[in-house]
Amino acid sequence: MKENHNPNHPPGSGAETPEEISRRKFFRDISLIVGGCTALGLAVPAVGFIFAPLTRRAPNVWRTVGKVEAFKIGETVDVHYEDASPVPWAGVTARTAAWLRRETADQFVAFAINCTHLGCPVRWLPQARLFMCPCHGGVFYENGAVAAGPPERPLTRYPVRVVNGEVQIETAPVPIMT
C-alpha cells in the first residue's frame, strides 16, 4: 500500500494524489467523529449528574412541631423541624423553620419565614403584629399580606394539620418567586 504520510505533499499543497486526498479526508472525518462521540459519551453522565437535582423532587412529608396545648391561641411563634430529605452530611443545614399561629382551639396557620422579595428570613414583632424583613425592608401584616417595602406577594403559607393532638406542618421547597 502506498504510504500516505508524505511530508512533501502537505494537505492543501495541491500536489496530493486523489488517493491521498481521499485517505486524508477519511482520517480527518473518522477522527472527528470518534473523538466527538467519545467526548459526548463522557460528558453526558457528568453533566447529567450535575443537573440531577433538577429531576429529583423531595417528597412532601408532615413534620410534628409540638403538642396542640403547647401553643397559645393568638400567639405567633417560630417552630423548627427537619426538611423533607435530610442527608447524613447535612448537619444543622437540614433544619428549617416556619412562623406558626394558633388562631382558634383547633385551627393553625403557618407561614414561610422567607420574605417574598428575595427570601431573607422575616421576623415577627408580636406587639406590632407585623413581620419585618431585615434585608430590604419588606413588611407583612399578620395575615401575611404585604404591608410595605419591595415584596409584591404575600408570605407563603404551609399546610398545617392536627393529628392525635400534635401539630404537623407539611415540608415544602424554599418558596421561589418565579
Partner: protein, 472 residues
C-alpha cells in the same frame, strides 16, 4: 564549580524541555517604550489570582466542603490551625485586591482605547473574566458557610428564580434541590475551586495569546487614529523603531507594583484578620442579617432601591444587558481616536460608573431601608415625661414597631421619616389618618390599635418638636 555544574544541568534540562525556545520569545517580546505605570494593573490582577490559588489550595488542606462540617473546619482553621487565621485573611484580601485590580485594569484599557482593533477578543475575554471573578467572590463568601452564607444562597436562588420559563429550574440548580441542604455547599465548592478557576486559567491563556499576538497597545497620543487598513503595519513599524523587550525593561514595573500589592494584602491581613464567621449555618435561626461582602454591597443596595415592580426586569435583564454592552464596546467604537484627552464620553462613562457604584456602596453599607431591630424604648430624657398619655404613647411607639423605622432624636430606625419634629409639621387629624391608613411604605395600623392606644401615640407625636409653624 557548583555554578558551572548548575549551569550544565540547566542547559541539559533546557535543551530537552525547550523552556528558553518556547518562552524566551514571549517574555522578551517587544513592547512600546512608553508603557509605564498605567500598564501594571493586568499583571497585578494575575498576581492576585495566583495568590488566591496558593492560599486557596492551602486552605483546602483543612476545609471540608460538607454542610455539616464546613463551619467547624473554618473555625478550626481560624482559631486553632497554625497560620490559619492569617491564611484566611490573605485569601479574603487577595480576593478584594483581585476585584479592585480587575476594575482598574478595565478602566485603564477603556480610557486608553486599547480595546479597539485588533484587540477586540482580548477585551472580550477580559469582560468574561470579570464575570468569573465576581462569581468566585460570591461563591467564596458562601463557602464561609455561616448564617450569612446560607441566606446568601437563598437570595441567589430567589434572583435566578425570576428568569422567565427556566427560573424554577435555575433556582433548584442553585440550591442543589428543593431546599438548602446536603447538596448545596458542595456544588458551590466545585464552582469556586474547580470550574471558575479553570475558566480563569483558560481565559487568561487566550487573553495573553491576544497580548502576544497583537502586542501591548502603545500609550495613545491625540490625533493618532486606529484604522483597520494601516494599524498593524504602523504598530509593527513603531515597535521595530521604538520597542523594548518586555523582560526586563518593562516588567520591572509589574514586579514592583505586584510586590507592593502583595505587601498591602499581607499588611491588611495582619492588621484586620479574616472576615468574621457569623452564627452557625442553621436555616431555622431567624435572627439573621445577611449582607454580601464589600464588592457586591452596591448591588445589594440596587435591589433595595429599585422601584417596586421593576425588580424582576432588572434582576434578569440588568446584568445581561451590562454584560452584552461591555462585550459590544469594541464593536461600537472600533476605530478612530484612542487618546482619553479626545474622548470625553469615555471619561464620563468611567466617572459615572465609579460614582454610581460608590454612592450605592455607601447606601448599601448604611442599609437605611432596613428596620432597626436593636431599638430600645425611648428614655425619659427624650420623651420628656414619665407619666400620662405622652409617656404611654412613647412606650406604644416602641412596642408597635414604629421606632424600628422612625427616628426620634437619633434613636430608632431610618426606614421612615425622622419624626423628631413631627408635632410641628402635622395636625392631630393628619397624624391619625396616616397611622390608621398607612402611607407609602408605612403599614396601616387601623386593625392594630385601640382608640386609647391611638390617642396616646398621637399625644406623643404631637409633643415632638416646636409648636411653631404647625399647620392650623
Amino acid at each position: 564549580m557548583i555554578r558551572r555544574t548548575l549551569k550544565r544541568a540547566w542547559d541539559w534540562l533546557d535543551d530537552r524541555v525547550g523552556f528558553t525556545e518556547t518562552f524566551g520569545p514571549m517574555v522578551t517580546h517587544l513592547v512600546p517604550r512608553g508603557a509605564r505605570w498605567w500598564y501594571v494593573f493586568g499583571s497585578a490582577t494575575l498576581l492576585a489570582f495566583m495568590i488566591q490559588v496558593l492560599t486557596g489550595v492551602a486552605l483546602a488542606f483543612s476545609y471540608i466542603p460538607s454542610t455539616a462540617h464546613a463551619y467547624e473546619t473554618l473555625q478550626f482553621i481560624t482559631n486553632q490551625a497554625p497560620l490559619g487565621h492569617f491564611l484566611r485573611a490573605l485569601h479574603y484580601y487577595g480576593a478584594s485586591a483581585m476585584v479592585l485590580m480587575v476594575g482598574l485594569h478595565m478602566a485603564q484599557v477603556f480610557l486608553f482605547g486599547a480595546y479597539k482593533y485588533p484587540r477586540e477578543m482580548t477585551w472580550i475575554t477580559g469582560v468574561l473574566m470579570l464575570g468569573f471573578v465576581l462569581v468566585m467572590g460570591f461563591t467564596g463568601q458562601l463557602l464561609r458557610w455561616d448564617q450569612t452564607g446560607v441566606w446568601s444562597v437563598i437570595v441567589a436562588a430567589e434572583q435566578v428564580g425570576r428568569v422567565p420559563l427556566i427560573g424554577d429550574w435555575l433556582a433548584r440548580f442553585t440550591l442543589g434541590g428543593d431546599t438548602v441542604g446536603g447538596a448545596t455547599l458542595s456544588r458551590f465548592f466545585a464552582f469556586h475551586v474547580f470550574i471558575m478557576p479553570a475558566m480563569v486559567f483558560a481565559f487568561v491563556g487566550i487573553h495573553l495569546l491576544g497580548v502576544l499576538r497583537h502586542g501591548i497597545s502603545p500609550p495613545p497620543k491625540p490625533g493618532e487614529f486606529v484604522s483597520r487598513k494601516t494599524y498593524k503595519q504602523e504598530y509593527a513599524e513603531h515597535i521595530k523603531k521604538d520597542g523594548v523587550p518586555f523582560w526586563p525593561d518593562s516588567a520591572w514595573r509589574d514586579v514592583v507594583f505586584g510586590a507592593a500589592m502583595a505587601g498591602s494584602i499581607v499588611i491588611l491581613a495582619l492588621a484586620f484578620g479574616p472576615p468574621e464567621l457569623g452564627k452557625p449555618p442553621d436555616p431555622s435561626l431567624i435572627d439573621a442579617y445577611p449582607r454580601p461582602d464589600w464588592y457586591l454591597l452596591w448591588y445589594f443596595a440596587v435591589l433595595a432601591l429599585l422601584p417596586k415592580g421593576t425588580e424582576t426586569l432588572f434582576m434578569v435583564f440588568g446584568p445581561m444587558l451590562v454584560g452584552l454592552w461591555l462585550i459590544a464596546v469594541p464593536f461600537i467604537s472600533r476605530r478612530g481616536e484612542r487618546s482619553p484627552l479626545r474622548r470625553p464620553w469615555a471619561w464620563a462613562a468611567v466617572l459615572l460608573v465609579v460614582m454610581m457604584i460608590s454612592t450605592l456602596w455607601v447606601a448599601g453599607a448604611r442599609s437605611r431601608w432596613s428596620p432597626n431591630f436593636n431599638v430600645q424604648s425611648l428614655p425619659e430624657k427624650i420623651v420628656g415625661t414619665s407619666s400620662g398619655p405622652v409617656a404611654a404613647g412613647a412606650q406604644l411607639f416602641y412596642m408597635k414597631g414604629c421606632l424600628n423605622c422612625h427616628l426620634i432624636q437619633n434613636e430608632g430606625g431610618h426606614r421612615g421619616p425622622d419624626l423628631t419634629s413631627i408635632g410641628a409639621q402635622r395636625t392631630k387629624e393628619q397624624l391619625v389618618l396616616t397611622i390608621l391608613g398607612g402611607r407609602g411604605n408605612m403599614p396601616a395600623y387601623a386593625n392594630n390599635l385601640t382608640p386609647e392606644e391611638l390617642n396616646a401615640i398621637t399625644a406623643f407625636l404631637e409633643s415632638r418638636g416646636s409648636q411653631v409653624g404647625k399647620p392650623r
